[in-house]
């Protein structure tokens, strides 16, 4: 019953032919389900998946953080943030891209979703980098990659789902994500420096400003910093949940924009409608991905892979390496949430049986999931950026990803080889 193999091949062909990704995945998924289960049951799953995905509380963070980003941008805060970043970092090669990597990390600390991080930072940082004549590849690459930190630096929707699936402590998982997340920022900054070393024109230096002007520019960051503090502080002090933080952050951005007199009724409607359109685009992809995931799940792809890992007779590190490679391959074509939901119940017991720490494995899963968000052909962060940057060919964005992908692979190998990188913090907390 290996229908998943032709299913994957046909999916790739249909997507390459220019059929919208959401529709391609939904169509092939539905056909595959019909081939296995028959028409009636397949259609029942398709309908239920569509309805359930729409009616999901946990996923409500996505539109609300997109809205927050849109409002921050319309409120003029992003312009000032980048003016400040430019003041401090702009004179370095690729300075704004460096600042973007840091800002992505900062935003990830208030957002549990990589897609929302990429969407928000795309709205905030891309116009600025374009204004400063940054290469589109570099600019979109650093945001797509930086955005992936959203699910690694706490809070994280994926870590919550992983924790519940594998019965690991979510607080420990969150703490475990901090150091790998900072490593991620440093890796992306290194990638920017390397690109700008070989292609200085990709990230032009700006003028060097005296310190007086630099500190003056910091005033422009107060609004955004306050908003971040509201969201971070609210979550960590327990005033609201990470899901609620999305609504509070959006409301905060709304009041700031209102206070600054940047919102007319027309602008507000534009911002809201734009957010709704982005929401539709993202969720249609999610619905398609979940229908397709149901198909490959029922077609037995996950268990086929797990059998392969188990029956190989290889030593534990080799099985780990194999599983990570499997994740990287799966991650090329699968949507991240469904990939985690599909594979973790299968691979986590294998890892536990081999004596590996499941908190550490959870972080590895998140890092490979991050990578999956930016690898072609299905790289959701790239698609999100594409919605912000409609005039840039998707190939250009994927080209810009490569240096960051290299940084990610280095980080993955480091974390796999030295579990202490992940585990010392949660162990220190006892």
């Amino acid at each position: 019953m290996e229908t998943w193999l032709p299913g994957l091949v046909i999916l790739l062909i249909v997507m390459m032919a220019g059929v919208p990704i959401a529709m391609a995945m939904a169509a092939i998924g539905a056909l595959g389900l019909t081939a296995i289960l028959g028409f009636g049951p397949a259609m029942a799953i398709v309908g239920q998946t569509t309805f359930d995905t729409g009616m999901s509380y946990t996923l409500s963070v996505v539109p609300l953080f997109v809205l927050m980003g849109n409002l921050v941008t319309r409120g003029g805060l992003s312009d000032e943030l980048y003016a400040a970043c430019n003041a401090w970092l702009g004179h370095k090669p690729g300075g704004l891209a460096l600042a973007t990597a840091v800002a992505c990390g900062g935003f990830s600390a208030v957002c549990g979703s990589s897609l929302a991080t990429a969407a928000t930072m795309g709205k905030v940082a891309l116009p600025q980098m374009r204004r400063f004549k940054y290469d589109d590849s570099l600019a979109s690459g650093v945001i797509a990659a930086g955005g992936t930190l959203g699910i690694l630096i706490p809070p994280s929707v994926i870590l919550v789902l992983y924790g519940v699936t594998t019965q690991q402590d979510i607080a420990r998982l969150f703490i475990a994500g901090v150091v790998p997340g900072i490593l991620g920022i440093l890796g992306y900054m290194a990638a920017v420096r390397v690109v700008c070393h070989f292609h200085p024109e990709a990230g032009p230096r700006g003028p060097k400003l005296p310190y007086g002007e630099r500190f003056a520019a910091l005033k422009g960051v107060i609004g955004i910093l306050g908003l971040f503090m509201l969201v971070i502080g609210g979550i960590y002090l327990g005033v609201f949940t990470a899901t609620e933080a999305a609504g509070i952050g959006a409301a905060g951005a709304f009041f700031i924009a209102l206070f600054r007199r940047k919102l007319s009724v027309k602008i507000l409607i534009d911002v809201l409608a734009e957010t709704a359109a982005t929401t539709t685009m993202m969720f249609m992809v999610l619905i398609g991905a979940l229908i397709f995931s149901n198909f490959v799940n029922i077609a037995g792809l996950p268990s086929a892979l797990s059998d392969l890992a188990r029956s190989s007779g290889l030593p534990a590190p080799a099985i780990l390496a194999t599983i990570l490679v499997v994740y990287l391959v799966l991650g090329m074509v699968l949507e991240s949430l469904s990939m985690v939901l599909l594979t973790v119940p299968i691979f986590a017991p294998v890892m536990a049986a081999l004596g590996y720490d499941l908190v550490w494995f959870g972080i590895l899963v998140v890092v490979v999931t991050e990578i999956s968000l930016i690898t072609p052909p299905v790289g959701l962060n790239v698609f999100v950026l594409k919605t912000v940057l409609p005039d840039v060919p998707i190939g250009t964005i994927f080209r810009g990803i490569f240096p960051f992908l290299a940084a990610d692979i280095v980080r993955l190998v480091l974390i796999a080889a030295f579990p202490a990188i992940v585990l010392f913090l949660p162990r220190a907390m006892g």
Partner: protein, 316 residues
């Protein structure tokens, strides 16, 4: 040879999967002489509230779920969701199955599927993070994470403020103080890792509330089985499976209670004064069931009486 695919929305380590569905699957395989195999799916094919419909439509052969997730649909299952029923999930589950089979099934609320069994979890209790609940007044105004159905009515009558959150967020809302506590059976506390954030537990004799579960099979799948296989499956389902499920919950509750004790949770049982006060506040909580039974042409009083009698018989 047939393979029954079981739709599963819980992790493999959950008692429902590990201690109910898996052993049942083995029993089915043995009872049918290997004719019928049972395969538990590793990923969910739909959200928990959709399970009944998914099984009915044949998306999987067998599935389980909570009646209270679709409250408008199952109006008789609240019979086992009220307070003071039993300290033993086994006694309550077996009694529930018998009442279901003899009386409640006449209403045909599970139309379009073969009901393999119905069961309940262990006695529901009150768990809090910062102050113990020793009287009914202590419960007043507490922000509690609760499920829907009868338990929501119970919480409301006790003056609790309901906080809604999906189960993956239970840890978060308790650890950061969005909720003051939770209504859960003992098993669920360590399962959701909230033994680390909870400090106090108050159990109620017979339980403060309970939850009704179903296990059902697609009708087409059932009709496609040979009479011999049907008989074999019936033998290990129904009462036998309700007993299996109840025993699994009792064992899981005992394990949960032990872990909580090790973690230093202060767990007390409601004293006579509090129990009496609870009984007074929760007077007539069965009215919803009685009305629904009447509408379905079932003698609700008799059903409640039979349930009590069977619980007593099982508890001996």
């Amino acid at each position: 040879e047939t393979t029954l695919r079981v739709s599963n929305w819980l992790p493999p380590s959950h008692p429902i999967v590990r201690d109910i569905l898996e052993p049942w699957g083995k029993q089915v395989e043995e009872a049918t002489g290997g004719n019928v195999k049972v395969e538990i799916m590793s990923s969910p094919i739909g959200k928990p509230p959709a399970q009944f419909d998914l099984i009915k439509s044949g998306a999987a052969d067998v599935g389980y779920g909570v009646h209270g997730y679709t409250p408008g649909r199952f109006k008789l299952t609240p019979i086992v969701e009220g307070p003071f029923l039993s300290d033993s999930a086994e006694a309550l589950s077996v009694a529930y199955w018998k009442v279901h089979e003899q009386m409640l099934s006449k209403a045909d609320e599970h139309q379009g599927v073969k009901v393999l069994t119905v069961f309940t979890h262990g006695p529901g209790a009150i768990f809090t993070t910062s102050k113990p609940v020793k009287t009914v007044a202590d419960a007043n105004g507490l922000k509690m994470r609760i499920g829907g159905g009868v338990v929501a009515q119970i919480a409301e009558r006790l003056g609790m403020v309901g906080v809604q959150a999906p189960s993956p967020q239970v840890y978060e809302i308790l650890s950061n103080g969005v909720a003051d506590g939770i209504l859960f059976p003992a098993e669920s506390v360590p399962f959701f890792r909230i033994d680390e954030v909870l400090k106090y537990g108050t159990t109620v004799p017979g339980g403060l509330y309970n939850t009704s579960f179903f296990v059902v099979m697609n009708e087409g799948t059932w009709n496609g089985l040979s009479d011999k296989d049907k008989a074999a499956i019936d033998k290990v389902s129904g009462e036998a499976m309700a007993r299996l499920a109840g025993q699994a919950w009792d064992a899981a509750d005992a394990a949960g209670t032990k872990i909580m004790a090790e973690k230093g949770l202060e767990i007390t049982q409601a004293d006579d004064a509090m129990t009496a006060e609870l009984a007074e506040k929760l007077e007539g909580i069965n009215q919803g069931f009685l009305d629904a039974a009447k509408a379905a042409g079932i003698d609700g009083e008799a059903a409640l009486e039979m349930l009590q009698g069977e619980i007593a018989a099982q508890s001996k």
